[in-house]
């Protein structure tokens, strides 16, 4: 298989307080694995000049304290670590998490459109969406929103032409080849095909988000009855269903 991404990582300054290490400019598990591997290495290295790491699809943002180091010094330090990473690739086996979803109806107002767009039945869309394991590429947009990929081509669908002002919390959507879950009510243009009763974000928890980059997610179709049962049981202890 062809290796994706740049031949070597690219470093760019982000103002005087951060830098970004880019591994490629496309969505691919290979590139994202490198991001996550560097993220883990740097977290463990406990470099005191580094204040925060933000892994995304294809790059790692590193926020640092400019009182303690310079861009050039820090790049050198990171490059040494990044080199070891290429020689001995870090195994980033994410956790596997099943997310229960009720598809269609009031919970998934765009399921019919997605089916019609691809000349499929709604059941086929559900089957295609829930059969695959998705990688959590990054968390962004709103607190706790996981960007998952990639959905089968048969159900990849463009965003809504006019975004909704309010998408309910728990909504599961498709945007091109990405799929994602709205942790809270937010405006959004993704095609909403279902809803999960579980909570993905709770600022009272540590960590506050259920998922993290590198996790593997599989959607599990549930009935309305199951939806309500899970919803009630996750009210108090949001993340307990994990164990």
């Amino acid at each position: 298989m062809k290796t994706k991404g740049y031949p070597s990582a690219r470093y760019f300054p982000v103002g005087e307080t951060a830098l970004v290490v880019e591994f490629g400019d496309e969505i691919s598990p290979e590139i994202n694995s490198k991001v996550i591997a560097l993220n883990e290495k740097l977290s463990k290295a406990e470099i005191y000049e580094i204040e925060e790491l933000v892994p995304t699809y294809r790059s790692l943002l590193i926020r640092y304290n400019p009182l303690k180091t310079t861009y050039t010094q820090l790049c050198l330090r990171i490059k040494t670590i990044e080199k070891t990473l290429i020689k001995t690739p870090v195994e980033t086996k994410g956790r596997k998490i099943a997310i229960p979803v009720i598809y269609g109806g009031e919970y998934g107002p765009d399921l019919a459109y997605v089916a019609q767009y691809h000349k499929l039945g709604e059941e086929q869309v559900i089957a295609l969406h829930s059969k695959r394991e998705y990688r959590v590429y990054m968390i962004g947009f709103v607190a706790g929103f996981p960007y998952l990929g990639e959905v089968p081509d048969e159900i990849a669908t463009p965003r809504l032409e006019k975004p909704r002002l309010k998408v309910p919390a728990g909504s599961v959507g498709i945007a091109e080849k990405q799929t994602g879950i709205y942790p809270c009510e937010a405006p959004g243009g993704w095609q909403i095909i279902g809803r999960t009763p579980i909570r993905l974000f709770d600022p009272q928890q540590q960590p506050p988000a259920l998922l993290k980059p590198g996790d593997i997610v599989k959607f599990k179709p549930i009935s309305e009855e199951e939806f309500k049962t899970i919803q009630n049981s996750t009210q108090k202890e949001p993340f307990t269903f994990l164990r």
């Binding site: 300054p13 103002g15 005087e16 969505i27 925060e52 943002l61 926020r63 962004g140 809270c184 009272q204």
Partner: protein, 313 residues
């Protein structure tokens, strides 16, 4: 300790401290005071820790009634503050007695003012910060702006012995046009030479779409090369994104943590603090500096805050 009752909320008044750090990877923005200098100075004036939580008022300030004797300071945008209708100075320690009413006029210079209270505002720490993140509905008072009837609680500490004032030469002026020093990138290579030249030589006006998340700016169109989108990556306050229409968006403290528009430049941290005082119709001019100069300016800003602390000791 109950210190104030809110009589009027003002246009948008929130509890803010220095911000919430370490949670960008979970999609949680940094939040915190839009104008760091004014928040920190307001705290020094009442001998609080630099990062104690204060009120951040926007354009039209709140009306507060004191429930106990305390000390406050008001800094930031010029708002002609008053105690019981009498004008009081900004950038100074002010004594407040039980029953006093604090009010202000519509902000004339700048966009936001900060009201510190001796001891600091005591709301629950959420992910290490008391800052209100309105969109996420957490932090501050129940994750929302102040409303009439709210009670502001503070940590109970002994009063400050004397009154302090920030020397005039250190008092910032918030006047349009604002100069924002930038380091180009991280996606400068996605713009044409002409596009970058236009960005650095034009005046950009803050539009009405300006809030704690960011400011949409209006001015000469900035030209991309071929692509107008990138695979989403992380964004920090100060990032200048340019979407397809060529009109820049300045990212501020409550913005989403990832985005798919290329970033032509990043405003240095001290100037992000300054731009926290820009309001609709104000003009921003972007000026390129080297990374070395950017770091020097950061260190200078840090030293300035330290010297403010020493002066107010």
């Amino acid at each position: 300790m109950k210190v104030f009752q809110v009589l009027k909320s003002g246009f948008l008044t929130t509890v803010q401290d220095l911000g919430r750090y370490g949670y960008l990877k979970y999609g949680v923005p940094i939040s915190g005071a839009m104008d760091t200098f004014s928040l920190v100075t307001a705290n020094f004036l009442v001998k609080n820790d630099p990062g104690a939580a204060c009120l951040e008022a926007t354009l039209i300030g709140p009306e507060l009634q004191a429930l106990t004797d305390t000390q406050i300071a008001i800094t930031g945008g010029g708002a002609s503050p008053k105690i019981n209708g009498q004008n009081v100075p900004m950038w100074r320690t002010l004594k407040v007695q039980e029953g006093d009413v604090i009010s202000s006029e519509k902000i004339k210079s700048g966009c936001r003012f900060y009201l510190s209270i001796r001891g600091g505002i005591n709301t629950p720490l959420i992910l290490g910060s008391r800052s209100t993140y309105v969109r996420g509905k957490f932090g501050g008072i129940n994750g929302r702006p102040l409303k009439a009837g709210d009670i502001i609680e503070c940590f109970d500490v002994h009063p400050v012995e004397k009154a302090y004032a920030l020397p005039e030469e250190l008092t910032p002026e918030f006047k349009s046009p604002f100069t924002a020093h930038v380091v180009l990138g991280p996606q400068k290579s996605m713009f044409t030479k002409e596009g970058i030249k236009i960005f650095l030589s034009s005046q950009y006006k803050v539009t009405i779409e300006a809030d704690r998340m960011g400011y949409r700016l209006e001015g000469p169109k900035i030209e991309h090369k071929a692509n107008v989108e990138i695979v989403s990556d992380a964004i920090l306050p100060g990032a200048v994104q340019v979407p397809k229409n060529g009109q820049p968006i300045l990212i501020m403290r409550d913005a989403q943590t990832t985005g798919g528009y290329p970033k032509i430049a990043t405003v240095i941290a001290p100037d992000v603090s300054l731009l926290g005082q820009a309001k609709p119709d104000d003009i921003i001019v972007f000026s390129e500096i080297s990374l070395r100069q950017a770091r020097e300016r950061f260190i200078k800003f840090y030293k300035l805050l330290s010297s403010v602390r020493k002066i107010l000791k």
